[in-house]
Amino acid sequence: MLALIYFIILAVIAVGAACCVFLSKHPLYGGLSLVLTMLSLAGIYGLLGSPFIGVVQIMVYAGAIMMLLVFVISVLNAAKDNRTPMFDGTSIFVLIGVLGLAGLIGFALVLTPLGFDATTLRGSVEMTSSNLFDTAQTGPGYFVLFEVLGLLLLSSMGAAVLMAKKRLGSDASVEAASEEAIAEEKEEK
C-alpha cells in the first residue's frame, strides 16, 4: 500500500515534469524539468528493487547528460530565439498520431495479464557486477558488450571533438563533452 502511494507521488511528479518539458517555452526550463523527471524515475527504480539502475540514472542521465545539454543551451544562448513558434500545424498531426499509437499500445497492455514474481532478483550492485564481469559463470556475452560500449563511447567522443572543434568559443563545450564521456566510462566500471 505504501509502495503504491510512493509510486503515485513519483509518477505524478514524473509526468508533470514531462508535460513541463513538452510545454515550456525556453529550452533551459525544459532541460531542468527533464532532470526532475529523471530523478523521480530513479526513485521508481529504487521502489521496484533495482537501486543500482536508479543510481546510474541519477549519475549519468541527470548528472552528466542533462547537465551537458543545459550547458550547451547556455553556451549557444538560443534563449533569444523568439521567432520560432512552439507549435505549428504539423504538431496537431503529430499529437493525433502519438495519441493513436499510445491508445493502441495501452489497449494491448491492459489486455495482457501481468503480475510481479516473488523470486525476482534484486538489481543490486552485486548482482549487476557478477553478471557483467564473472565470465566464468555467465559467459562472455555481457562482458564483450561492455567492452564494445567502451569503444563506442570513445569513438563518439572523437567524433564530437572533430565536429565541434572549429572556431568560436565552442572548445569549452567539447572538452566538457569528452570529460563527460570519460567520466561515464569510469562510473560504469
Binding site: 504539423t90 503529430v94 493513436g100 499509437l101
Partner: protein, 651 residues
C-alpha cells in the same frame, strides 16, 4: 656428403641473384660501374658451387631418389602445396648439365660481355635464370615446377631484350614472352584438369603416378581417360610453347636478338628442353593416353622436318642454329611421342653439349668479327680462329651424327626407337632419316660458309679478326670434349647402357607399359647405325657439292636476311597464321567494343531515363519537412499496430 640438403642447390644462384642485383642497383648511378673481375668471379662462383653440390648429391643418390620437403607453401582449404624437392635419375641428369653448362657459359660470358654497360645486370639475370631452372627441374610437384616454368620465361624475356636500346630487341622479347604465355595457359589449365580429377594433392608427381597406377589396377582407366587426355593435351600445349614446337615456334628464331651466351644457355641447352623434361616427368600419365602421344609424335616430326628445311635458307649464323635447335627439339618430341623418354632425355643431354658448343663458337665468331652475324660476310676463318673452328667442327660432327660423336648415339637411338616402338614406325623413321640428311646439309653449309673459302667481308675489318680470349675458349673446349664423348654414356651398339639405367626408375614403368603392348620387331642395331652414318655422310656430301664450290649465296640474294633483330626470314606461314589469329581477335575485340560502347550504353541511358522520370513523378509527393516525414512514418506504425491488434497477433 649425401646428407646435403637439396635446397642448397637453388640457394646458391638465388644468393647470386640477390648479391649481383644489389651490386647492379647500387652501381647504377656511378659512371664506371663495378669491377668486372669481381662481378665475374661472383657470377661464376655461385653456379659452380651449385654444380659442385649437385655432383656431390649425384654420387650418393639412392636408386629411388631423394625426396625432401622444405616447408609449407600454400595452405588453404582445397589446396595444400609444400615446397618439396625431388632428386631422382631424371632431375639428376637435368641438374648436372643445367648447372654445369650454366657455370661454363657464365665463365664464357665474362669474356663476351666485356665492356658492356649492363655487365652486372646480365649476370644477375643469368643467376636468376639458373635458380628458376633448378626449381623447375628439382621440384616434386607441378605447381612448383610451374613457378620455375614462369621464372625461366621471365628470364628469357629479360635476356632477349637485354640490349633494350634497340626497339627490335624489345619486340622480339615481347614476342617470346607472349607466345610463351599461350603455352603457359595450357600448363595452368592442364593442372586444373588434373586437380578436378583427383584434388590438389595429385599435383605432386609421386601422387600422380600412384593415382595412375591405382586407375590401372582398378580398371578405371577408360572412365578417367577423357579428362586425362585433355590434361595431357594442355600440358603438351605448354611444352610446345616452351620448347618452340609447331604451332608456337616463331618466337625462338627471334629470340636470337639476345646476347649469344644467352642463346646458348637458354634457347639451346636448357630452357627450351624443359618441355621435353615435363613430358618425361609426366610419362606415367601419358602412357595411358596413346592418342595424345600420337599427336606429340606427329607434331615433333613436322617440327623437326620443317625447321630443318627452314634452316637451309638462313643467312644469319645464329638463326641457322636456332632452326637447328627447333629441329633437334622436334627429334626429342618424336622420341617422347614414341614412349622413348630415356632416348629423348639422352638427346637433350648430348644436344646440350654440342648445341651449346655451336652457339658459343658462333658467339666467338661474332666476337671476332665485331658483331657481324651474316654468314655471307664471313669465310676462311679457320686460318684466323683455329680453336673456334675446331670446336665448331667437332660440334658439327656431333649434331649431324657422325659415327663416334655424341649426336650419333642419341639420334641413332631415337631413330631406332621410332622404328620399333611407334605405330607406323617405318614412316616416322624415314622422315627422321631424311631430316638427318637435311640437318647435315644446312650444318655443312654453315661450317663451309663460315670457316672455309675466302673471306668475303669488308677488307678493313680483316685485320682485326682475332681469336677469342682464354676464358671464352676454355668453356668451348670443354663443351667440345663433351660433344665428342657424352654419347658414350649410352652407346647402344657397343653395349654400354649406363644412361638407360639411371633413368629407368623414373620413366621405365611408363615405357614398359606402352612398349610391352607392342610386338617389338627385333632389328640389328648395327643396321640403324649404318643408315645413320650414311645419312650424315650423304648430307655432308650434298653440302660440299652445293656450297663447297663457288656457288655461295651472294649478298643481295633473293632471300634477304636481316642479320639481327625482329623479323625472321622463312618462318613460312606460321607468322601469318598467328597474325590471322590476332586479326580475328582484334575483330572480336572491335565488335565487343562497339557492343559495349553503343548498345550497352543505350541500355544504360534508357534505364537511367526511366528512373529519372519516375523519380520526378514521385518527388511531387515528397514532404519537405523532416518532422512531417517522421510523423507520417509514425502514422504508418499506428496503422501496423492496429492491424496486428485486429488480426489477433497478440492474443
Amino acid at each position: 656428403m649425401t646428407n646435403l640438403p637439396l635446397w642448397i642447390i637453388p640457394l646458391f644462384p638465388l644468393l647470386g641473384t640477390i648479391l649481383l642485383g644489389t651490386v647492379a642497383v647500387v652501381s647504377s648511378g656511378s659512371k664506371k660501374g663495378p669491377s668486372e673481375g669481381f662481378v665475374g668471379a661472383l657470377s661464376v662462383l655461385f653456379p659452380a658451387l651449385s654444380f659442385v653440390s649437385v655432383v656431390l648429391l649425384a654420387f650418393g643418390m639412392p636408386e629411388e631418389g631423394i625426396r625432401q620437403t622444405l616447408c609449407n607453401w600454400i595452405d588453404i582449404p582445397m589446396l595444400k602445396v609444400n615446397i618439396g624437392f625431388l632428386f631422382d635419375g631424371l632431375s639428376r641428369v637435368m641438374l648436372l648439365f643445367v648447372t654445369g653448362i650454366g657455370s661454363l657459359i657464365a665463365l664464357y660470358s665474362i669474356g663476351y660481355m666485356h665492356g658492356d654497360r649492363g655487365f652486372t645486370r646480365f649476370f644477375a639475370y643469368i643467376n636468376l635464370f639458373l635458380f628458376s631452372m633448378i626449381v623447375l627441374v628439382l621440384s616434386d610437384s607441378l605447381l612448383l615446377t610451374f613457378l620455375g616454368w614462369e621464372g625461366v620465361g621471365l628470364c628469357s624475356y629479360l635476356l632477349i631484350g637485354f640490349w633494350n636500346h634497340d626497339l627490335n630487341n624489345c619486340k622480339a622479347a615481347n614476342k617470346a614472352f607472349i607466345v610463351n604465355r599461350v603455352g603457359d595457359i595450357g600448363f595452368l589449365l592442364g593442372m586444373l584438369c588434373l586437380a578436378t580429377l583427383g584434388g590438389s594433392a595429385i599435383l605432386n608427381y609421386d601422387a600422380l603416378n600412384k593415382f595412375i597406377e591405382m586407375l590401372i589396377a582398378g580398371g578405371h582407366v577408360e572412365l578417367a581417360t577423357p579428362i586425362i587426355a585433355i590434361a595431357g593435351l594442355l600440358f603438351f600445349v605448354g611444352c610446345t610453347g616452351k620448347s618452340a614446337q609447331i604451332p608456337l615456334l616463331t618466337w625462338l628464331p627471334d629470340a636470337m636478338a639476345g646476347p649469344t651466351p644467352v642463346s646458348a644457355l637458354i634457347h639451346a641447352a636448357t630452357m627450351v628442353t624443359s618441355g621435353v623434361y615435363l613430358l618425361a616427368r609426366l610419362s606415367r600419365m601419358f602412357s595411358v593416353i596413346p592418342e595424345v602421344l600420337m599427336i606429340v609424335l606427329i607434331v615433333g616430326m613436322l617440327t623437326a622436318f620443317w625447321a630443318a628445311v627452314a634452316g637451309l635458307f638462313q643467312n644469319d649464323i645464329k638463326k641457322v642454329l636456332a632452326y637447328s635447335t627447333i629441329s633437334q627439339l622436334g627429334y626429342m618430341f618424336m622420341a617422347a611421342g614414341a614412349s622413348a623418354y630415356d632416348a629423348s632425355i639422352f638427346h637433350v643431354f648430348t644436344h646440350a653439349f654440342f648445341k651449346a658448343a655451336l652457339f658459343l663458337g658462333a658467339g666467338a665468331v661474332i666476337h671476332a668479327l665485331a658483331g657481324e652475324q651474316d654468314m655471307r660476310r664471313m669465310g676462311g676463318l679457320i686460318k684466323k680462329t683455329p680453336v673456334t673452328a675446331c670446336v665448331m667442327i667437332f660440334a658439327f660432327l656431333a649434331i649431324i651424327g657422325f659415327p663416334g660423336f655424341a649426336g650419333f648415339w642419341s639420334k641413332d637411338l631415337i631413330l631406332e626407337r621410332l622404328y620399333t616402338n611407334a605405330p607406323f614406325g617405318e614412316f616416322f623413321y624415314g622422315v627422321g632419316l631424311l631430316t638427318a640428311v637435311i640437318t647435315a646439309v644446312y650444318m655443312g653449309r654453315l661450317i663451309i660458309m663460315t670457316f672455309f673459302g675466302e673471306y668475303r667481308g669488308p677488307k678493313e675489318k680483316e685485320a682485326h679478326i682475332h681469336e677469342a680470349p682464354a676464358c671464352m675458349l676454355f668453356p668451348m673446349v670443354i663443351l667440345a670434349v663433351g660433344a665428342v664423348f657424352a654419347g658414350y654414356l649410352w652407346a647402344d651398339s657397343l653395349g654400354i647402357k649406363f644412361f638407360e639405367g639411371t633413368l629407368a626408375p623414373v620413366v621405365g614403368v611408363a615405357q614398359d607399359f606402352v612398349v610391352g603392348k607392342l610386338a617389338v620387331a627385333h632389328v640389328n642395331p648395327m643396321a640403324f647405325a649404318c643408315f645413320g652414318t650414311a645419312a650424315a655422310l650423304l648430307g655432308m656430301f650434298i653440302a660440299y657439292a652445293i656450297y663447297g664450290t663457288k656457288r655461295l649465296p651472294r649478298l643481295h640474294a633473293k632471300w634477304g636476311s636481316a642479320p639481327e633483330g625482329f623479323k625472321a626470314d622463312w618462318t613460312f606461314f606460321f607468322d601469318y597464321i598467328h597474325s590471322i589469329f590476332i586479326v580475328m581477335f582484334k575483330a572480336a575485340a572491335f565488335v565487343a567494343d562497339v557492343f559495349v560502347d553503343k548498345v550497352l550504353q543505350a541500355i544504360q541511358w534508357t534505364i537511367g531515363a526511366i528512373a529519372e522520370i519516375v523519380g520526378d513523378g514521385v518527388s511531387s509527393f515528397q514532404a519537405r519537412k523532416v518532422r512531417v516525414q517522421l510523423t507520417l512514418s509514425l502514422v504508418g506504425l499506428v496503422a501496423l499496430t492496429a492491424v496486428v491488434l485486429l488480426t489477433g497477433g497478440l492474443f
